[in-house]
């Protein structure tokens, strides 16, 4: 396992990050702006800033093929940023929400994106060429609280949403004229806009932090604040799911998770490190941490001369500096994303968190 590539961008929380398709550009949500970094050698340098939001930016996503950037913020707005000769040009999206926008993701087709919000709606947005702007349709029922996370099914029609009402739900976001009619799947055959294809709740009813579809789209995983990961295997429309596997963990809750193939999940959160989980319909278990223990740098720090030790004791009243966590991230990991995917398997993934670091890990 190669050691992780650590980029300490600044001393400020990173709400969300996104890499461009060629992995040369990195967008990072910092306060009210989105900062664009480009790779030069082994480092990322600040290239541009997307200014437009007047409250904290909560989420950012770069579309892989079109290169468009979508951002959303607590100011209840979302912008689509397109490159132009004079710089990035924002287009306002009509979200029609009266609370903060919390989460945004492009659909795999990149023809639309979904914005989760505190107004108990998901705005599914698409471009209307006759009016030349982005409009939205609302997914409302039966959401009873803030949407915290969204994930797209590979067919770009089904959308999974996690909410603070402790439910993970799967909706159809089929929009006529934008989407092609999807093939029937385990989630349903006919899928008009707003169909609820599944609604899942844990026994402990912790609010949901992260959701993810498996690469095939036939399983849904979500992580909640009851420190659990639940994997749902649906069997067909209007039938109870084939298996719902819920795993209670010893560690602090996860905030974000991604699938690596159909039988592995990588998740990270309040424990400041990423964990690997493996399993199938029969059961899941936590396999271990993604951190390689005994990293170079960790030992060097501990090696101290006697002089230094006494100096530390004199200055700080203790000989060891224990303000450093043993993990790469020094604070909560807020987002993990796949970085390098080959045939449904994640070769590398990236994480960002409250400590202002973006780290690229190899699995």
């Amino acid at each position: 396992m190669a050691s992780p590539e650590v980029h300490h961008l600044f001393h400020h929380p990173i709400a969300d990050h996104s890499f461009s398709a060629d992995r040369k550009a990195l967008a990072v949500a910092r306060d009210n702006n989105v900062e664009l970094y480009t790779r030069s050698g082994s480092k990322f340098t600040l290239q541009d800033e997307l200014k437009g939001h007047d409250k904290t930016v909560t989420s950012v996503d770069i579309a892989p093929t079109t290169g468009r950037i979508v951002t959303c913020s607590q100011d209840r707005n979302a912008y689509v940023w397109e490159p132009s000769p004079t710089g990035w040009k924002p287009t306002l999206v009509l979200l029609r929400i009266n609370r903060a926008a919390t989460f945004v993701r492009w659909s795999p087709s990149e023809a639309k994106f979904a914005v989760g919000s505190g107004a108990r709606v998901i705005a599914v947005c698409y471009f209307e060429s006759e009016n030349d702007w982005w409009v939205s349709k609302h997914l409302k029922k039966p959401i009873r609280s803030t949407i915290t996370a969204l994930a797209w099914h590979p067919n770009s029609v089904l959308l999974a949403a996690g909410s603070t009402d402790a439910h993970a739900r799967v909706f159809s976001s089929f929009i006529k004229g934008v989407d092609e009619r999807p093939e029937g799947s385990v989630w349903g055959e006919r899928l008009p806009f707003g169909t609820v294809c599944g609604e899942y709740l844990n026994n402990e009813a912790g609010w949901v932090h992260g959701v993810a579809f498996s690469p095939s789209g036939n399983a849904l995983a979500f992580t909640a604040h009851d420190s659990s990961v639940t994997v749902v295997y649906p069997s067909g429309p209007d039938e109870p799911p084939r298996a719902v596997v819920s795993l209670s963990l010893q560690v602090l809750p996860f905030l974000s998770l991604i699938w690596n193939g159909e039988s592995e999940i990588i998740a990270a959160g309040y424990d400041c490190e990423a964990y690997r989980l493996q399993g199938n319909e029969q059961g899941w278990q936590i396999v271990g941490s993604m951190e390689s223990k005994g990293r170079p740098g960790l030992g060097e720090m501990r090696e101290e001369s006697a002089l230094n030790m006494f100096r530390q004791m004199d200055l700080k009243g203790k000989s060891k500096d224990d303000t450093q966590l043993k993990t790469v991230h020094q604070n909560t990991i807020a987002t993990i994303r796949a970085y390098d995917v080959a045939g449904g398997n994640v070769k590398k993934f990236s994480s960002s968190g409250v400590d202002g670091r973006v780290v690229i890990w190899s699995t």
């Binding site: 108990r120 009873r144 609280s145 009402d165 402790a166 439910h167 709740l201 026994n203 402990e204 009813a205 912790g206 609010w207 909640a224 604040h225 009851d226 420190s227 659990s228 209670s248 963990l249 010893q250 560690v251 602090l252 809750p253």
Partner: protein
């Protein structure tokens, strides 16, 4: 209306779709109601196990049948049963017992329930074992923890019970981890 302080108006009450205007219970799993006699019956069965020396069986039985749907008196009686079991187990037996429960099927959930009882025990004023509950003053909130005020009446007899609970807490966190504490704080099913 010019004098109305519009900043203090709770706009959520004016919105029919707002969470202030629907019952939270519609979102949560329903709990089967448990009556006081059922809990009394259960607690006498568990005492029997305890007298027979089967502390592990008694603890499991008590934790797996926690009266989530019971009223305050039923929950209180069960708390007393559980704390009696906890006090009858020696400190050296705690860790092996917890590890055995944790590795058995359904074990993590059982230990979550134990953590709930530990926090509830720390929040409630202790009482002499044997006196059937119901007459004791209850903590005003149904959360089961964070009630430091509820401990005021504890007196000198409370120290002993509290140290038992604290050593259980320490051992339990070693086995079930921090996730166990987070689950207890998140779970709306209180004991």
């Amino acid at each position: 209306m010019a004098t109305a302080n519009w900043r203090t108006i709770n706009i959520d009450l004016l919105d029919p779709d707002s969470p202030s205007n629907f019952s939270l219970t519609s979102l949560l799993p329903t709990l089967a109601p448990v009556s006081l006699p059922e809990v009394q019956n259960l607690s006498s069965q568990i005492r029997q196990l305890l007298r027979g020396g089967d502390t592990e069986g008694a603890l499991r039985g008590a934790l797996e049948n926690a009266p989530y749907g019971g009223d305050a008196a039923a929950k209180d009686l069960h708390l007393q049963t559980v704390s009696e079991i906890l006090q009858s187990i020696k400190q050296s037996e705690m860790s092996p017992l917890l590890t055995r429960i944790y590795t058995s099927p359904g074990g993590p959930e059982t230990l979550d329930v134990l953590m709930k009882y530990l926090y509830k025990g720390m929040s409630a004023p202790p009482s002499a074992p044997g006196s059937a509950g119901g007459s004791r003053s209850l903590t005003p909130q149904a959360t089961g923890f964070s009630q430091i005020g509820g401990r005021v009446g504890g007196g000198e007899g409370g120290g002993q019970a509290m140290s038992v609970l604290l050593s259980w807490h320490e051992k339990l966190v070693e086995v079930a981890g921090m996730g166990c504490i987070v689950r207890v704080m998140t779970d709306r099913r209180t004991v």
